[in-house]
Symmetry: C2
Subunit: 181 residues, 2 copies
Amino acid sequence: MDCKSALSECDGDLRKAVDCLRKKGIATAKKRSGRATSQGQVQSYVHSGGKIGVLVEVNCETDFTGKTEDFTNFTRDLAMQIAASNPLAIDRDRIPADIIVKEKEIYGTQARETGKPDKVIEKIVEGKMKKFYAEACLLEQPFVKNPDISVQDLVNELMAKTGENVIIRRFARFQLGEEDA
Amino acid sequence: MDCKSALSECDGDLRKAVDCLRKKGIATAKKRSGRATSQGQVQSYVHSGGKIGVLVEVNCETDFTGKTEDFTNFTRDLAMQIAASNPLAIDRDRIPADIIVKEKEIYGTQARETGKPDKVIEKIVEGKMKKFYAEACLLEQPFVKNPDISVQDLVNELMAKTGENVIIRRFARFQLGEEDA
């Protein structure tokens, strides 16, 4: 039904209709993101003969949705994403403040060495921090199986599909022999 | 060879010889426990349809040993142990100090309510703390597949078998919907 009405809304243009549906999905996802989540799945992934392991908890609203194939595929992809892309935290708010300070310092020092005016330096640091966040935050990372979308986009798609709020609650990633964080 | 000499040392008594071998294993294990470990395995276990998940890293000295069946079986058993018995920490040193203080307080209050003399109360609290540690510390827990031995005994056996130092480095355990620690 959604597809039909989207198609007619977009005068039969399939690509536009798909865009429209995705936007709707995201709009509904935003509405849902306040709803309580206590169900879902804990999923694991162990990579290349036990050298890297990941544990992740994803929450949704109902036990039923937490057991669906869509949900399971999502948690599997997510565990693989974390193994491959080694995020520091789920989002910007959860990156330790001292790491952010240190990153800004490094980029600031590098930028000042160019001798450019302060305003330009500010812009350079801003750009580098944006890149840093895109690597360090799980939700901002490009999805390894389809780098055209971010992990946040993938979450939004699952919210649209399931009609439920979906939250990546926490993760752990162990790499054999690495130093403690 | 070890078995033969153990048997002859114990005048052919098989049970004694086994004891003797285990003691030797433990003695050698103690000698080994100072040696550097950077190899091993990361292992995971997800229990009952994604409600509980465990990630554990176990280190040994060589890549070769980390890939053996004995080592893999050990890490699998360990991940299951953690899922089933929910330890707070690997050993006493890694239980947060505030938790220990709180436990002692609770047991102290309970014991004082009996009206018994201070020396008895001290003994009661000591006994309860010992029980608390046996539940809270992974290495002190009875092994779920054979409660006659502790997880530490299991580690010692693996050290004896492999001839290498074996360290349970770290673990994570996620239970769906639980409060943050």
